[in-house]
Symmetry: C2
Subunit: 454 residues, 2 copies
């Protein structure tokens, strides 16, 4: 029996566990799931064959070390900051490791030791980061292998609600960490490359500088720029690329409405509101508008943002009931962002039969023999229910497949790494297709940024 230890059985572990249990007999696997909350983990286990669920506190050195010692490979599904202690044990006891998290500096610093012990520490192998890396590098490598030179790479991902559950005016529900959605884009200007020019967008313009995207059968989307478009420029070998842009996808119209919250200061997470506990939603909105003894909060809101009463954006705010004088904030010493999150969760929480959807869109522009070409590549994954979500599927399956491929020696190049080499992405992308996770590629005319070409 090969022994796999999964640390942390949160939201995104359903497919991960199911995949490994389904393969456990044929692949001769024993799965141990360690979590602080055993009940959570047990819900995701549909069999008692080849599996055990144990109480595990990653900060308790003894129990952690004991569990890691027994395993052949360790999958950590904890938040990124909790990986490092397990990673050190994995080196000590010569175990491979897999995470879906960004490589931290601490993790990167282990590279030499990991290589010296001939171990594979695979990171960033969820959906974003993960499937984005693999699907992009497969196309980029293919273009290069055929003598092409990359001139444009744009990549967009969105965690959205599936069309059949898309029933509010924002065309949005929280399918992942709501806090990250409320504070998205804060902390510095977005930076990217367009036709060899560095461009910068401050937070207060971010949601007004969107791009449109269209996916066959799924309609139109928009995307706003991520802060870190240039992060993978060197990793992907795109040093001489002219256009490099990464963004987050929403349904068209979301950003224009969201920008109203940004403009008013309601997404700020840096200070607390006085007496937030006793505020109504209406009081909260009013705190960002000038005092008036006569003018309504509604009119001040519309005036400040220049919103006509027959503008669809106005209905979006009414739908959220943000002008309610009876719904109370009830949060003590809360930041504007925390209060806004609470208000949004009233409306944007998935109900039991709602389904989520992950969309991804890459554009690859390249030159070959003096001609310019473009490939657009898109992926859509729709969830099954509130346990087997598209998010859990696209995060969990690549992790699970990578773990098995490492055990089986298909992935063997040692080191702290991310899935950008053929050895890694080829077998994983191939197998993901069996589960409906696949990209549709289209050759399109290369237009670049010249509207005269259109």
């Amino acid at each position: 029996m090969r022994k796999i230890l999964i640390i942390g059985a949160g939201k995104s572990s359903s497919y991960l566990i199911k995949y490994l249990l389904d393969k456990s007999s044929t692949e001769n696997l024993h799965i141990t799931i360690g979590d602080l909350n055993i009940d959570n983990a047990k819900k995701l286990v549909t069999t008692d064959k080849n599996v055990s669920v144990v109480h595990l506190d990653v900060f308790n050195g003894d129990s952690r070390t004991k569990a890691i010692k027994k395993a052949d490979i360790v999958i950590s599904m904890l938040p990124a900051r909790f990986h490092i202690e397990a990673a050190k044990d994995c080196i000590k006891y010569a175990k491979h490791m897999v995470t879906a998290s960004y490589v931290s500096e601490e993790m990167q610093a282990l590279d030499e030791e990991v290589k010296a012990n001939n171990l594979v520490f695979m990171n960033e192998i969820g959906v974003d980061p993960g499937i984005d890396h693999m699907s992009a590098m497969q196309v980029i490598d293919h273009i290069r292998d055929n003598g092409g030179k990359m001139i444009l790479f744009e990549s967009f991902t969105g965690g959205l609600v599936a069309p059949e559950s898309d029933n509010n005016l924002w065309n949005y529900k929280f399918t992942w960490n709501p806090r990250n959605v409320v504070t998205a884009g804060q902390g510095g200007a977005a930076k990217f490359l367009q036709e060899n020019q560095f461009k910068y967008i401050p937070y207060n313009r971010l949601f007004r500088r969107t791009e449109f995207l269209e996916i066959d059968n799924y309609g139109r989307f928009e995307a706003y720029a991520n802060r870190d478009s240039l992060k993978y420029q060197n990793v992907y070998g795109l040093e001489h690329i002219k256009t490099l842009y990464r963004g987050t996808m929403r349904r068209v119209g979301f950003s224009r409405a969201w920008n109203v919250f940004v403009q008013l200061g309601m997404t700020d997470d840096s200070y607390t509101i006085d007496d937030s506990e006793n505020m109504s939603y209406r009081n909260f909105v009013n705190a960002f508008l000038p005092y008036s003894p006569t003018d309504s909060v509604e009119l001040k809101f519309r005036h400040a943002l220049k919103i006509d009463q027959d503008d669809i954006v106005w209905d979006k705010f009414l739908e959220l009931d943000i002008f309610s004088s009876t719904k109370m904030v009830e949060l003590k010493k809360a930041t504007p962002a925390q209060i806004l999150q609470k208000i949004l969760m009233d409306s944007w929480t998935l109900s039991q039969d709602d389904k989520d959807m992950i969309v991804m869109y890459h554009k690859f522009g390249y030159e070959r023999n003096g001609e310019q070409y473009q490939i657009d590549s898109t992926m859509v994954v729709v969830g099954e229910d509130q346990t087997y979500t598209a998010m859990a599927k696209t995060v969990g399956l690549p992790v699970a497949i990578a773990a098995l491929d490492i055990l089986n020696g298909k992935i063997k190049t040692p080191g702290v790494q991310i899935p950008i080499t053929k050895e890694v992405y080829s077998p994983i992308l191939e197998e993901l297709k069996e589960y409906g996770i696949q990209f549709t590629e289209k050759e399109v005319e290369y237009l670049g940024y010249n509207p005269l070409n259109r």
Copy 2:
């Protein structure tokens, strides 16, 4: 002879030194001016009687201690962060101290020792902070002494260009630290009280939420909110006040135009622009606008901010020559704020015969016997030239007068303090009148924030 040591002879020391030298014979004073740059100091000394200029490095313990030991009182005109070493020496050798800076935590921590040694450490005794404290507390104390209860306090200060030198479309030139002007309002939402409601303005709305003010003979001004309106609420004893607002004054129209820089992200000081050294002003502006192979930077700029070509705000940007493709940024690894500052300094630097102007405007609302009243109090000081500026006058004279009043025992309550007690503000405000620094008070109708009252 009473010995006064002035540490630091920068821009704002001209009137300070002149005042003390003018009084040196009648008051029996010897002034020692210590600076890293002796030549700077010598320019401000018009006599060789009762004065010596010495080289002084405040970080050189020996020379600092030696100079302080010899003095009866020490005036530190250094930047706030450099006071503390001198302050510790002042305690050790039992010397009084005067600064125009905000009381730092380190300075405040010395209070007990200062009191134990029966010393006066007077701080925040320039113009803002300084004259604002004194002039406000004089009126507030007067209102209270007559049985009034404060319900509104609004206070505004501006460092501007004098009407006779006001010859650009922004009605603004740099009369103080340009960097502080470019980054003004950053670092968090402005917070204030209006009619018992806390109000918050994020940076991106700050310059669109201005108030108008009118000063007889000087016309209209506007003011944007300071971040710290509530800072002196307890210090001034205004715990139960309904409206508390502090702001910065500009000529009408400045803020609307400045907001364009804010919106585009050109005031950001948190990251550096790639290859800033080789950018033209035009390239710099273009970095905040979408790429286009055909549209001009001018049109993209106007479109992004919705500026009509016949809008006066447009001429303000043309006047700054920000679209020049020949003027170069020339600053290495510069932040947007640093580059913008350089561009503005081309246009907003005072010429040799330009004069500056300090304006201050207080509104005091109060209730007495069930009736509501309001007093508006204004001050305007115009500079004489580029050495004897209004800024140097309004900063230096209160410092100088305070120092002499301490030596003469008129100000004697010991401790680390700011000028909010009658003992301090009465003699100083009285003497400032002799130098043309005085407030004009007007009783006006109390309108509060109810437009129906107007």
